[in-house]
Subunit: 127 residues, 4 copies
DNA sequence: GTGGTCTAGACCACG
DNA sequence: GTGGTCTAGACCACC
């Protein structure tokens, strides 16, 4: 069963997109695997304290990308083969890295500074 | 005059926030300096292909943070002293780094991988 | 439910202010009472033939003055205690009377004339 | 020469309308008479601390109603015969009284209360 | 030309 | 269905 324990909604972007990306990232990370069962819309919405429609919207988009399969009235499962996983991982990372570097460059940080800052912060927040 | 040549709008967040952050980052980077003149609402909106009010909203919020000064009928100018600049830079970096590390960790990237990816991408897009 | 049947929009001042004052006056008059339900943004805007946002603006300002309470997804209700009602009534009357006397004096009407005119008109439009 | 000493601009409605009505009311009151000279746009704008264009707009509307005559490059004069004066006075009063009674009724004031309030306020602010 | 405000329509999160 | 936000266009006062 896919766990949403580490999901922390943050203001600033639509919640349904946050759910979408949480699942995509989990898949890319290998935390969420092919065949894993997803919590039902009702359970998940109550777990996250949000509206079922919002969960529904995220699930619907994942279905459209064929990353989950939902049969009406039944449970939802991850459907992600090796190829899709690679592509997903590549897409997410490309998007992230592009945004990261652009932001940091715009803020006037040098490459060395950037690497240093990330390195330090990463260590501090290691479990 | 503050230039928006390097401004690249991206979907996913409100346009007015993108403008807001573009200016904040420019200020933090030293590209945008105290006393610099800002393009008018009309000029900038037409340049970016958006509505003048969207620009206005960004400018209004910057004015509330006392980073720009605008008076009716007159042009708008940056007003950043050394202290505000330091604080701004600190805030932006903290926010960025936190988001970066969180995203990358969620995508299952190791610290070494992350640093490597950023390092490489940075180099490739160096001018 | 607060009724807008007797609302007559008039050019010359912003619509949102007309709505604002209509509700304030109704509250002062006792026509609109604490706990009364307000029509939704959509219903009222369609009733008045205006944009939902214009209604929203009036409601938002009333909320800032704590005269109505609205929560997302739920209906909006009046929240007026005895104290607020007294203050409201005093404010509205002071504002009205001041404007009335100033206008009539500027138009060169004597006190006796003014009282006579108002007295007559009031009677003619009595239900 | 028409005097604007007693003109007090108040927020809430366009300044050009306030000028327009100040002159209309003055004419109705007999303070401003046929043939009286108006201050030039430049002088008046500087006197009231507002923009010449705003004065221009009010003058233009008065011209359209044929209450003043301006010859390009020359001075402006009131042009108001007995008939126009009567009509103007009737219009202004009708508009005022209608608004007054409506506002006060909406605020839940009785006729007696209304007359009493106006009577008292009028006396207090007598010179 | 400038910035400020009012009105509008579409979309989002929520019950 | 509800309220809240983002984007838009027109108009106002001002330089």
């Amino acid at each position: 069963m896919v766990s949403f324990d580490s999901f922390v909604p943050s203001g600033g972007r639509p919640i349904y997109l946050q759910i979408l990306y949480f699942i995509k990232r989990g898949a890319a990370a290998g935390t969420i695997r092919d065949g894993d069962e997803l919590p039902s819309r009702r359970v998940l919405s109550s777990l996250l304290g949000i509206n079922p429609n919002t969960v529904q919207k995220a699930f619907r988009m994942l279905e459209d990308e064929e990353l989950i399969s939902s049969h009406s009235g039944a449970k939802s499962f991850m459907t992600i083969d090796e190829e899709k996983l690679c592509q997903l991982r590549r897409e997410l990372l490309a998007e992230d890295i592009r945004g990261i570097v652009m932001s940091l460059k715009q803020t006037g940080v040098s490459r060395a500074e950037a690497l240093e800052l990330i390195n330090t912060y990463w260590e501090e927040n290691e479990i």
